[in-house]
Amino acid sequence: MWWFKKKKITNQEQMFVGYWIFDYLDDGILVIDQKNRVFLANFKAAEYLRIKKEDLIGKSILELNKYLNLRDLAVLSQVRIRKEERKEKIKPRDNFFLEAKFIPLKTQEEEVKNILIILYDITREVLTEKAKSEFIRLSTHQLWTPASGIKWSLKMLLNEELGELNNKQKELLKEIYEANEREIKLIGDLLTVAEIESGNVISEVSLLNIEEIIQSAINDCEKMAIKKGVKIIFREPKERIPKVMVDEEKIKMAIRNIIDNAIRYNKSSKGIVEVGLERREKEIRIEISDNGLGIPYEEQRKVFSKFFRGKNILQIDTTGSGLGLYIAKSIIEAHNGRIWFESEENKGTTFYFTLPIKKKFGEFLSSKFY
C-alpha cells in the first residue's frame, strides 16, 4: 500500500520549512539575546525598520531604537525580570503604527535569556479609529448647532424679550426648552459613549483630591435636587484620604451620573441622597445611597447596559437618557476601579465604587500614544 512507502520528512527538512515560514511571515520577527543584540530577524522586521536584514543581525536593539521608536526600553528588562509577555504600541514614523509583543524565551531552567519580539502592523486600525473619532466629533458638533439656536431663541422668548406671553404659551415654551436640553445632553452622552467604545475613556490624569471632585459633582447636581425636593448630604470622611490618579473631568462625570440617578429614582419630596467616602487598604471607596424607588430585582442585571431605564421609573421620570451608568461604569473600570450596587424596591439603592490608590506614577496607564 502506497502510504507505507511514503517518504518520512526529515528533521532537517522540517527545519528548513520552519525557517522559510519564519522568514516570510507577514509579521515582523526579531529575536534578541541577553545583550539585547539581534541574532534572528525576518524580512518583515527588516521592512518595518527600513534596514536590510543582513544589517540587522548583531545590532543592539538600543541602537536600532531610532528606527523602532520604542518609548521606554525598560520594557525589555521588565520582560526578563518578571518573565512575562508585554505588549507596547509603537509609532516608528508618521502614519505607521505597530503593536510589539515581547515574549520571554525561557530555558529549561526557567531562565530568560532571549526575547522574541513580534511586530504587528496596526496602521489600518489606528487610522480607521482616528477617522471614526473625527467623524463623531464633527457630527456631534453639527447636531449641536441647530439645538443651540433653538435653545437661544426659546430663552429669548421665555424672557419675554419679544413681547409678553400668556401662561399657556410660557408653559409650552418651557416644555420645548426642556426637550431641547435633553437632546443636547443626549448628544453629549452619545459622544462620550463613542469615545468609550473607541478605547478613549481617559485622556489626562493627575494626582487629585477626590473630596473636592465629589463636592464639585454634588454642586452640579444641586439644581436638579432642589427641583425634585431631594437633599444631598456629603458625609465627611473619618480619616485623611490620600490623593488619587484620575481624569478629573471623567471621574466627576461618573459621580454626577450616579448622583443624578439617585435623585431621579426618588419617591417624592423629602428624599435624601447620601454620599460617603472612606479609605480601605489599597483603595478608596465611595458610597452613594438614596431612599427612593429602588431597582426591581428582575431588572438588576441590566442596570449597567446602554439605554436601560427601570420600568418603575419610566412612569415618573421620562427624561433620563439611560446612558449614565454605562458611562460611569466604563470610566471607573478604566481607572482600575470596581462598581456595584445593592437595591431593594421601594426602600432604596446604594451604589459603591472603588478607586485604587496608586503609589508609583509609572504604574498607571499613560494617555493615548498618538
Partner: protein
C-alpha cells in the same frame, strides 16, 4: 451702559445662530459687523478694527483656530480680544483655543444668550480697568 462706541465682529457660518447673536448684541446697544467665514472675518478685522471678536471654530474654509493664529501674527489686529463661541467643547479644543490667545471659550449648547452678553461685558470692564 452706553455701548454704541463698541464694535463687535461676529464670525459665524450658521445663519440662524448668527442672527440671534447679532440681534442680542444690537439690543444691548453694541455696533455689530458680521462675517460668514474665516477669510472674510480676518479681512473685516483688519479693515474695521472691532473692539472684540466672537469667533466660531468650525467654519467653511479656514477654521477658527487658523483665524486665531493668523490674527495673533498680524501686528495691527493681534491685540483685539477674541472670544471663541463654539460647540467643540472638549478639553483639547478649549486648551488649544486658549493657548492660541483667545481670552475666553464659550460652548454654545451650554449657554444662554444672556451669558454671552455678560462675558463680553466682563471683558470690556477688565480692559477698562487695565
Amino acid at each position: 451702559m452706553d455701548n454704541s462706541n463698541k464694535k463687535i465682529l461676529v464670525v459665524e457660518d450658521d445663519s440662524f445662530l448668527r442672527k440671534i447673536i447679532v440681534k442680542k448684541l444690537l439690543n444691548e446697544g453694541y455696533t455689530v459687523i458680521e462675517a460668514i467665514d474665516g477669510e472674510k472675518g480676518l479681512k473685516m478685522a483688519k479693515e474695521k478694527r472691532p473692539d472684540l471678536i466672537l469667533l466660531d471654530l468650525v467654519l467653511p474654509g479656514i477654521d477658527g483656530f487658523e483665524v486665531l493664529k493668523r490674527m495673533k501674527n498680524g501686528a495691527e489686529i493681534a491685540n483685539i480680544p477674541v472670544v471663541i463661541l463654539s460647540n467643540l467643547g472638549n478639553r483639547v479644543d478649549i486648551e488649544r483655543g486658549l493657548e492660541l490667545g483667545a481670552v475666553d471659550f464659550l460652548v454654545k449648547a451650554h449657554l444662554a444668550p444672556r451669558d454671552i452678553i455678560e462675558r463680553i461685558e466682563n471683558i470690556f470692564k477688565k480692559m477698562e480697568n487695565v
